[in-house]
């Protein structure tokens, strides 16, 4: 029997709102991609019915538009949570300004991407390469919302949706808006493929229980990594308290 004893500690990493955001977002992206491709090139399912008895293409478009709203407001909610969430959810994870985060980028490149070194996984939340990819995802989502709602605004008289129409004169005409929207769809697909693979990879190698943590929120972190994180957290708290006194 191959076995070894490992000192592990359970750490509550992903709060419920973060998990909620994640799965709603995943569902939205799947629905939007599928309906998006149907809208771009609809299959000819029927040909013998009267138009007045059928509305399936209208329904596909309705699902696409309705899901787009969920997608957008879900992201807005997550941005809010980036200011009130725990240390693994805050905005400063996603906009790396500290030297420690850039050292982590180097570690991920050497260990996980190129596999030149074999260092232990020491991130409890996201590593910095992951957070950077989510920053790119956010930018793509913003652009996708702008191009999507610019196309949608033409069928709506509510001023709520007119905010995105400035993109149309910028890109020339709506056909170009459509091209950008279509290309960005592929970005989301490729992102999903890579993202899912990396999730499997991390559970395969680091064995922190990443996949189950996306449901339950808790991760199994080696004792020494958890202790190091605890010390770092205390240090940060002391520093912020001192800064508070200075002010």
């Amino acid at each position: 029997m191959k076995s070894r004893k490992r000192e592990l500690r359970e750490v509550y990493v992903w709060e419920l709102p973060v998990r909620f955001f994640h799965w709603v977002n995943a569902l939205c992206i799947c629905v939007l991609c599928v309906t998006g491709f149907i809208i771009a090139n609809p299959p000819t399912l029927m040909s013998q019915v009267e138009a007045s008895f059928s509305y399936w293409f209208g329904i596909v478009r309705f699902i696409h538009f309705a899901t787009a709203f969920v997608f957008m407001f879900n992201f807005i909610f997550r941005i809010y949570w980036a200011f009130v969430g725990n240390r693994y959810a805050t905005w400063d994870n996603y906009i790396p300004l500290r030297a420690r985060q850039w050292r982590n980028v180097w570690h991920v490149l050497m260990t996980d991407v190129l596999m030149i070194r074999n260092e232990e996984e020491r991130s409890i939340g996201h590593n910095t390469v992951a957070t950077l990819s989510y920053l790119v995802l956010l930018l793509a989502a913003v652009l996708q919302c702008i191009t999507g709602f610019a196309l949608y605004a033409q069928t709506s008289t509510l001023p709520l949706f007119q905010w995105a129409t400035w993109i149309t004169p910028l890109l020339g005409d709506e056909m170009n808006v459509r091209i950008v929207h279509h290309l960005l769809t592929w970005f989301f697909i490729l992102f999903t493929v890579i993202h899912v693979y990396i999730v499997f990879y991390h559970d395969y190698i680091a064995r922190h229980g990443l996949i189950s943590s996306m449901i339950g929120g808790w991760k199994n972190i080696p004792e020494d990594v958890a202790e190091e994180e605890e010390k770092l957290e205390q240090k940060e708290r002391r520093r912020s308290r001192r800064a508070g006194h200075a002010v």
């Binding site: 005409d173 808006v177 493929v193 395969y204």
Partner: protein, 371 residues
């Protein structure tokens, strides 16, 4: 020069009152009934209420005809051709001195030096009053691509715009360069907007624009003495605020998912939606579905042909007219969005496969290390 002198004699002086549209109509034998019909149709085309009809009638009865300069730069004259096929061509053409002494290369009486002279006369006599109407794009790579009477298109346009009251860009050429600006755009053709300074500009899009839309824009200027409300791209909202898609009589088929897949299939014969045959109606803003062409006879989709999107900038460069695949330029080759996506997908999967092999070697080593 005797020619220019006799030509100048024919021109009305600035102080002499110009005939009104209605006077001109009566002189040309147009009945009052026809004239009123035209006014009513214009009001309808512009989406105005009944009360606007007397206003239009009064304006055309009392206001002098507009002095105009109509320039032909890099174009095919299809805008002019469209205009003279207006629903009430006689009345429409009398809205301005179309075939009199003002300057329009295709239809004016004088030619050569006389023609150049008549343009200069109009520019000086009606400085600040005349309307400048432009068909065609301007070359920016080399002025020699378009010269008339020894002057470059750019020069002619800049000079003519200086004294204009307002400028109308007829068609896709004057707005966005149209086919001359299509890739690779050998002459560097562009629309006229950047050459006219800060003059008020109306883009009347289309290749060509609908004749009644052209007439409607002029009637609006005459009646209300102000620019019509324009959209983000400078087009009059009365005619360009609705998508061809939303005013299409085949729209019900689109929502029902009933599509023709080729021009000779059963579905095409049933009159199903032409979306899959490359119809650009969903991204095209024009009044084709409402006003239609040739006196309301038909329009492309009604005749079984998908919309080409001719009232949108760059419609020549959006790939095949008969496919919805959109073309993306770059890297020296043109590809559709889906081909790019699939290629990147293949690269991604190959990368993942290579990474997965490396990962398994690493994992095996770690398992073997455990006693």
């Amino acid at each position: 020069m005797t020619t220019s002198k006799s030509n100048a004699d024919l021109l009305p002086t600035a102080t002499e009152p110009r005939p009104t549209v209605y006077e001109e109509c009566r002189r040309k034998g147009v009945s009052r009934r026809k004239f009123i019909q035209f006014c009513a149709m214009m009001a309808a085309a512009m989406g105005l209420e009944d009360v606007a009809v007397p206003k239009i009638v009064k304006a055309l009865e009392t206001k002098p005809r507009l002095p105009i300069i109509w320039l032909h730069l890099q174009e095919c004259t299809c805008c002019s051709e469209s205009f003279i096929r207006a629903d009430h061509p006689v009345v429409a053409s009398l809205l301005f001195d179309h075939i009199s002494l003002d300057y329009t290369e295709t239809l004016m009486a004088p030619s050569g030096h006389q023609a150049e002279q008549s343009m200069e006369d109009t520019m000086s006599k009606y400085a600040g009053q005349y309307l400048l109407m432009v068909e065609g794009s301007v070359p920016t790579k080399d002025d020699a691509y378009c010269c008339i009477g020894g002057k470059s298109a750019r020069q002619i346009l800049t000079d003519a715009a200086k004294g204009a009251k307002a400028v109308i860009a007829w068609g896709n050429c004057a707005t966005a360069g149209c086919v001359q600006a299509a890739n690779p755009n050998p002459t560097g053709a562009v629309g006229i907007a950047r050459f006219i300074g800060d003059k008020p500009l109306i883009h009347v899009q289309g290749c060509p624009p609908i004749a009644d839309v052209m007439a409607g824009v002029i009637v609006h200027l005459l009646t209300f003495n102000s620019l019509p409300i324009l959209d983000d791209l400078g087009r009059p909202k009365a005619f360009y605020s609705r998508r061809v898609h939303d005013t299409c009589y085949r729209r019900a088929n689109f929502d029902a998912g009933l599509f023709a897949e080729s021009f000779d299939d059963e579905n095409a014969r049933r009159g199903y939606c032409l979306y899959k045959l490359g119809c650009k109606g969903p991204t095209t803003y024009n009044a084709c579905g409402i006003i239609k062409w040739n006196g309301g006879v038909s329009y492309p989709i009604q005749s079984g042909h998908p919309c080409l999107g001719c009232s949108e900038a760059g419609f020549w460069d959006q790939g095949s007219f008969y496919k919805r695949d959109t073309v993306v330029e770059g890297f020296g080759i043109e590809e559709t969005a889906d081909k790019i996506g699939l290629a990147l997908g293949a690269v991604t999967v190959a990368g993942i496969a290579a990474h997965a092999i490396g990962t398994n070697i690493r994992k095996r080593r770690e398992i073997n290390e455990v006693e």
